[in-house]
Amino acid sequence: MSFRRHPVAGTMALVVIGYLWIPILAVAVNSLNKSSLMARWGGATAHWYSLAFHDANVRTGLVTTLEIALGSTALSLVIAVSGSLWWRRAPARARAIYDALVYARIVLPEVVFATALFFLFLKAHFPLGIVAIIIGHSVWNSAYAAVIIQARLIGLDPAIEEAAADLGATPWRVFRRVTLAALLPAIIASGLLTFTFSFDDVVTSYFLGGSSSSPLPIVLFGMIRFRITPEINSIGVMVMLFTVTLMCAAVAVFALVGSTGRGRRGAFAEFYGR
C-alpha cells in the first residue's frame, strides 16, 4: 500500500471511509443496547429483535415491500431490456432523446417526480396503493437497469450474432442463444440492483401508497418521526444484512462473467460509476 507516498490523501481516505461506516456500526451496537436512550451503552439485550419480530406492522410492511420490489423489478427489466435492444440499432437522434430521458429519470429529484405522478393518478382516478407504487418505482428503476444493460450491449460484437445467423440460426434462435445469453449477467445484476432500490425507497412509496398500503420503509419512516425506539435499529440491521447479501450477489454475477472488456475492476466501477 503506497500510504507513505500519499500521506495526506491516505489519511483523508481512511477518515472518510470511517465516516461512512460509523453510523452503520452505531446502528448495529444500538440494536443490542439495553439503554433505550441510545446515547450510551447500557448492557446487551436481544429485546429489540424480538420486538421487531413480533411487530405486526413490520411483518405486513415487509410482505408489501417484497411484492412491490418483485413487481417493479420484473416491469423494469422488460422495459430496460427491450429499450436497450432498440437503442442498439436506433438512429443517432432518437438515441439521444432516449438517453436524455434515461438520464432525466435518474437525476430528477424524486420529490418532483413523485408529486407529478401522484397528481396524474389523482386526476385519472387511478387508485393509489401497491400497483401505483410498482408503476412509480419502475419509472426510475428501468432507467438504472437500462444503463447497466446498455454498458453490456456496447461490449457485444454484432459479428457474433451475424456469425450465428450465417451458420443457419433463425433470428429468434440468434436472439435467445447469443444476444440474450450475453446479456444475462447484466440482466441478473440490474435485477438485483433495482430490487434493492425498490426495497429501500421512501419518497415514491410515500406519495403513491395512499392510506392502504405501507411498505417497510414507510413503516420505519413513521417510527422515526413519531416514536423513536431502538426497535428501528434491530429492523435496520436485518434490512441491511438482506440488501448487502443481494448486492454482493449482484457484484459476484457481474464480476465473474466480466462486462465490457475492461476487466473485472472496470466492470465493478462501471457498474456504479455511471
Partner: protein, 298 residues
C-alpha cells in the same frame, strides 16, 4: 415477444422484403419504454407544469385554469424564497463537501494495487447499499446531546455541539448519503489514467500542488462533473434527510412540496414549487453542460 407479431402481420412481406421485419421488431422493442416513459414520466411532469398556472377553488376544491402566475407570486414571499435559497445553498455546500472529501479518497484508491483498490472500493460502496433511512436516522443518535459525537466535542472543547436539528446536521446527513456517488465517477475517470503521467510531471519539475492542478484535476474533470450532477441535483430536492435531521425546523424545498401536496392539498401551489425546482435544476444542468460538452459522450 418478437416472433409472434412478425409472423402474424409480416409473413408474406417478410419473404419479399426482409428489411421490413426488423422495422416491426424495432417498433415493438421501443413500445414498452416509450409508452412507460411518456405516460408515467413526461405526461405527469407536463401536467404539473400546466396546473401550476391554475388556481384552486376553495369552495369546490376544483382547479380552474386561468393561466395565472399567482402561484409563482406567492412563491416570492420570504418564507418560500428563503427555503428555496436554503435548499440551493445546502445543495451547493454539500456538493462541495462531497467533492472535497471524495476527491482525495478516489485519487488515493486509484494509486493502490488492484487488490487493495477492491477492498477500499467495497469500503465506499457497501455502506451505500444498506438502508438509507436507517443510516440517516443513526445520525440522530450520534449527534444528539450526550451522544458519542457530542461527548467527543465536549471533551475536546468543553462546549456542547448543539448541532442536531440545524442546517449543519442536514448537511452532514446529505454529504454522508451522497458521498459514494461522488467518489465513484471520479474513481472511474482517474482509474483510466496511466500513472506514468504523474511521474512525468514530477520528473519535469512540477511540485505536488502544480501536479494536482495541471495533471490530476484536468484528467478527473469528466468524473468530477458527473459527480457534481448526480450529487447536487437530487440533493436540492432532498426530502427524507431534512425531515429526519432537520427536526421539522429547518426545512428544504422538498419538504414544502410534500407538505403542500399531502397535508395542505394545495396542488397548484405545490406544482408551482415543484416546477420552480425543476427550472432551477435545468439552468444548473445547462450551465454544467457548457462546462463539459463531452459529458454525454461517456
Amino acid at each position: 415477444m418478437i416472433a409472434a407479431p412478425a409472423s402474424r402481420s409480416g409473413a408474406e412481406v417478410a419473404v419479399r422484403r426482409p428489411v421490413n421485419r426488423p422495422r416491426v421488431v424495432r417498433h415493438l422493442l421501443l413500445t414498452p419504454t416509450a409508452a412507460w416513459t411518456l405516460v408515467f414520466f413526461v405526461a405527469p411532469l407536463a401536467l404539473i407544469t400546466v396546473f401550476s398556472f391554475g388556481t384552486e377553488n376553495l369552495v369546490t376544491f376544483g382547479i380552474n385554469f386561468g393561466w395565472t402566475a399567482s402561484n409563482y407570486g406567492a412563491f416570492g414571499s420570504s418564507l418560500y424564497l428563503g427555503t428555496l435559497l436554503r435548499s440551493v445553498a445546502l445543495s451547493a455546500g454539500t456538493t462541495l463537501g462531497c467533492a472535497l472529501l471524495g476527491f482525495p479518497l478516489a485519487y488515493f484508491i486509484t494509486r493502490q494495487r488492484p487488490n487493495v483498490q477492491r477492498i477500499l472500493l467495497a469500503g465506499v460502496i457497501v455502506p451505500f447499499w444498506t438502508s438509507f433511512l436507517v443510516r440517516t436516522y443513526s445520525w440522530v443518535n450520534l449527534l444528539q446531546n450526550g451522544g458519542p459525537v457530542d461527548n467527543l466535542a465536549h471533551g475536546l472543547t468543553g462546549h456542547h455541539l448543539e448541532v442536531l436539528y440545524t442546517p449543519t446536521s442536514i448537511a452532514i446527513g446529505i454529504v454522508y448519503s451522497y458521498l459514494p456517488l461522488m467518489v465513484l465517477p471520479i474513481y472511474v475517470a482517474l482509474e483510466r489514467v496511466n500513472p506514468d503521467l504523474y511521474d512525468a510531471a514530477a520528473d519535469l519539475g512540477a511540485r505536488p500542488w502544480r501536479q494536482f492542478r495541471r495533471v490530476v484535476l484536468p484528467l478527473a474533470r469528466p468524473g468530477l462533473i458527473a459527480g457534481i450532477i448526480i450529487v447536487g441535483v437530487p440533493a436540492m430536492g432532498e426530502y427524507v434527510i431534512p425531515e429526519i435531521l432537520g427536526g421539522g425546523k429547518t426545512l428544504m424545498i422538498g419538504n414544502i412540496i410534500v407538505n403542500e401536496y399531502l397535508d395542505v392539498g394545495n396542488y397548484p401551489f405545490g406544482s408551482a414549487l415543484a416546477v420552480s425546482l425543476m427550472a432551477v435544476l435545468m439552468v444548473v444542468l445547462f450551465a454544467l453542460r457548457r462546462v463539459q460538452p463531452a459529458l454525454e459522450a461517456r
